[in-house]
């Protein structure tokens, strides 16, 4: 397949707000169940081990007309819960047999209760994760939470999930993460070859495709882009931060690139890269998943940083490792986690003399002019500064 063909396929999956890919999967797997999950992280290995399709729900984007959803929320609450409700109330999520609401913020937390009330026939679980990182404390709690999910899904699927099932699924997701990391490395080295507007679509495809198929698609893409010479521009290199929940419109990502910024690392769709290292495929799978979460996972606003000195460290490492020259803070309007975290991260960047710029967006932001100008000015200043 050519790059264009792959990107077109991902774009079609991205545009399809009826989740036909899920319906197709169900048609091909009679009796198979699909479980939706919201940002930022759930151990998809458990869903996969149950023989089910994990489906990432990241709001309605800028193409969905939100009619019902707005009637559930005050104007000062972010967009993603209202468009998610819209997707649900308009029957677009009917192919999902359940929904997981990870512990990310009070909005998603409360949305889990709304879902219990609005979709009474569906499996709904608020998936809590520990904010303390000792194995015998946070780990013990987390293993219980995962075990509860494992049992629930076992019941829903009609068969117990064995350790072996889990180990196999862990291996499958390890592979997916490895390939995504390779893709990120490729982009960091040659961002003109693998632009973020494409990488983003590829990752979004992973929200609806079976993981094995997604891994193959990523490989095909890397092969295809390496076979092509793509035009290189004189862009600066930036890390984008704050986009872990409500998604910016695709147009915003394109605008950043057009304004002269190559995105070389980011916190888009963190579920795909949350665990940093491979999870061991031998031994107790629950314990392995727990240890990976507690000791080898990404930093983000929804997670407590126990050491003051380490606040911002993850972001700075992203900058250093990707060879970025600055950071673009993009946060959804009214997002307490991202917006409250921002000044602390900016402080950490200041200490390390890393330049940044910051703005807010909504998933349905239509006008990109201001953002394009801001990003353009930022890119110019970096180029001047480094000249």
């Amino acid at each position: 397949m050519t790059v264009q063909e792959i990107v077109d396929r991902c774009q079609a999956l991205f545009d399809d707000l009826d989740f036909n890919a899920v319906k197709d999967w169900k048609a091909a797997n009679p009796g198979g169940k699909a479980i939706g999950y919201l940002p930022i992280y759930v151990p998809r290995e458990i869903i996969h081990a149950a023989g089910m399709l994990p489906v990432g729900i990241f709001g309605g984007g800028d193409q969905l007309e939100v009619i019902h959803g707005d009637a559930y929320y005050q104007s000062y609450i972010c967009r993603i819960p209202r468009s998610t409700i819209e997707l649900g109330l308009t029957g677009r999520l009917d192919s999902l047999d359940g929904m997981l609401f990870p512990s990310i913020c009070d909005v998603i937390r409360n949305l889990s209760g709304m879902w219990q009330l609005l979709f009474k026939d569906k499996y709904v679980k608020y998936f809590d994760v520990p904010q303390t990182y000792r194995d015998e404390i946070g780990g013990a709690f987390y293993i219980h939470e995962m075990q509860a999910l494992r049992e629930d899904l076992g019941k829903l699927g009609g068969h117990e999930i064995t350790d072996e099932d889990l180990q196999n699924s862990i291996a499958v997701y390890n592979e997916n993460r490895q390939v995504i990391n390779e893709l990120y490395d490729l982009r960091a080295k040659q961002p003109w070859q693998a632009p973020t507007s494409e990488i983003y679509l590829l990752l979004r495809a992973g929200m609806v495709l079976p993981v094995e198929e997604h891994t193959q698609l990523l490989r095909d893409y890397m092969d295809a882009v390496q076979a092509e010479e793509r035009p290189r521009r004189d862009n600066c290199r930036v890390v984008v931060n704050g986009v872990f929940c409500e998604q910016p419109p695709l147009g915003l990502i394109k605008s950043l690139e057009m304004a002269g910024c190559y995105v070389v690392d980011d916190d888009f769709l963190l579920v795909t890269r949350w665990l940093i290292d491979d999870v061991p495929t031998t031994g107790d799978p629950m314990e392995n998943l727990s240890k990976a979460f507690l000791h080898h996972s990404a930093a983000t606003s929804a997670k407590f940083e126990p050491n003051k000195a380490d606040k911002g460290r993850f972001l700075i490492n992203q900058v250093r490792n990707s060879g970025a020259e600055g950071v673009v803070f993009a946060a959804p309007s009214f997002c307490d986690p991202a917006l409250l975290d921002r000044p602390m991260l900016q402080e950490a960047l200041n200490r390390d003399d890393i330049p940044f710029t910051a703005f807010k967006y909504a998933e349905n932001t239509g006008q990109m002019q201001a953002i394009r100008e801001q990003a353009g000015t930022f890119a110019d200043s970096i180029k001047l500064w480094s000249a």
Binding site: Y72, Q74, L118, I137, S301, F334
Partner: protein, 433 residues
């Protein structure tokens, strides 16, 4: 509508003995805090929901509650400029104004609401109960001080129950993390018998508080369970739960209310006796503190009394049966943290409010949705609809903020309330006919 001429706001506020007692307690605590650093007493800052006041007292530390400082600054009309200060220093206009009021205050020299200097904290005890913003709040405060932060992660009651796993998790954190860190920071060894003793005091005060809140089941209600309720919860939600002073305060208050009941009187308002009770409301959400009296007046001028509220449950839901238990001290502290109002699921909150409407024979529900607080606000529209459906009682929805004066529009709120009262009046008249 109430045809009697509205009372003019008087400058002299009517106060009962319990109110004066509470004022002394609060002032003394602020004064104590103003000398903590100089006099070598350790200071722990902590949040209201899920606070471990009895446990903290075991380590002889002074307790500072940033939320209380923010609301007191709101009441004293100081929060607006503090919030702007925080925004000037990089905080977004979108985020919780309690946090910004606190950060602005720290930036401006950390002078507390009473004008006394607040101390630098030695420990930030982050009871992560019912609100994610707490976590960011103390990460932000930690940036400004060289102090320890203890995270006490309290899982969310998403399915409306406290599981053994949740309880074990909180108890383990208390035993292995919170207590050893407090021992180290304070230099005081933990004594569980001392904790039991404080919990015994808490129990007594909690019994009285529940009696007080439930006195609103009477007609007329002798209390206002939202505006008045804010005062009633003051001591027990903060630095005084577990102290003899708090126990005495609730005894005094109970005595006063008993007398009001015997006399067939309504609540005390800042302008004296309430007058005739016309509407009985349940309120969901927080108060607005910048225009507290003005807001309250919109109610009592119309003969509307609040008979139950959820705000008076943010620092502990006692009326559904929970009490601190000296026989199971750590487990009961865990259950306390897990059971605070904003840690309850939306369906549990709906059930609680629907029951209040029935049990307290309320005419309707008012939701005061605040811009600051996603923990309270996200989902309130659906809550209102569900409760209306279940109880058949009409609801009203208004929007203000806790401590940001820019989000309190007196004219809008008044209009909304007036049309709501009109509607209730018509409904009551139709029912009576």
């Amino acid at each position: 509508m109430n045809t009697a001429a509205p009372r003019k706001p008087s400058t002299e506020v009517i106060k009962e003995a319990s109110m004066l007692k509470q004022k002394v307690m609060i002032d003394e605590n602020f004064q104590r805090l103003s000398t903590s650093n100089e006099e070598g007493r350790k200071v722990v800052s902590t949040f209201v929901p899920g606070n471990l006041n009895e446990l903290l007292m075991c380590f002889d530390v002074d307790r500072n509650f940033p939320e209380i400082n923010a609301l007191q600054n709101g009441m004293r009309k100081k929060s607006g400029r503090l919030i702007m200060e925080a925004e000037r220093n990089g905080q977004s206009e979108d985020v919780c104004t309690y946090v910004k009021s606190d950060l602005g205050m720290i930036e401006q020299g950390n002078i507390g609401p009473t004008g006394d200097k607040l101390p630098d904290p030695d420990v930030l005890l982050l009871s992560y109960t019912g609100c994610f913003t707490f976590m960011k709040w103390f990460e932000l405060v930690r940036e400004k001080y060289d102090c320890e932060t203890i995270m006490l992660h309290v899982p969310y009651q998403a399915d409306g129950t406290i599981t053994q796993n949740m309880r074990d998790y909180v108890v383990k954190q208390l035993k292995d993390d919170v207590i050893p860190t407090l021992e180290r920071a304070s230099g005081v060894k933990f004594d569980i018998d001392r904790l039991r003793q404080y919990l015994r005091q808490s129990q007594k005060a909690e019994d009285d508080l529940v009696w007080i809140l439930q006195s609103a089941k009477n007609k007329p209600s002798p209390i206002d369970a939202f505006f008045g309720g804010v005062y009633y919860i003051g001591p027990i939600f903060t630095a005084f739960r577990g102290t003899e002073a708090a126990t005495e305060y609730y005894q005094t208050l109970r005595g006063e209310i008993k007398q009001r009941l015997a006399d067939g009187l309504g609540p005390v308002t800042p302008e004296g006796d309430f007058g005739k009770e016309k509407f009985r409301l349940v309120v969901e959400g927080t108060p607005n503190y910048t225009n507290f009296r003005e807001f309250w007046k919109m109610f009592y001028d119309e003969g509307a009394v609040v008979v139950a509220s959820t705000y008076t449950k943010v620092g502990g839901v006692y009326d559904l049966g929970f009490r601190h238990d000296p026989d199971n001290p750590l487990e009961s502290l865990a259950d306390y943290c897990l059971g605070c109002y904003t840690n309850l699921s939306l369906p549990a909150r709906i059930k609680m409010l629907s029951n209040y409407i029935d049990d307290y024979q309320a005419d309707g529900l008012l939701v005061n949705s605040v811009k600051s607080c996603n923990s309270f606000s996200a989902g309130q529209v659906l809550m209102l609809r569900e409760i209306e459906k279940r109880t058949g009682k009409p609801g009203a929805f208004i929007e203000t903020d806790l401590v940001d004066p820019r989000y309190f529009s007196a004219a809008n709120v008044k209009n909304r309330m007036e049309s709501y009262f009109q509607m209730l009046e018509q409904k009551n008249a139709t029912q009576a006919a």
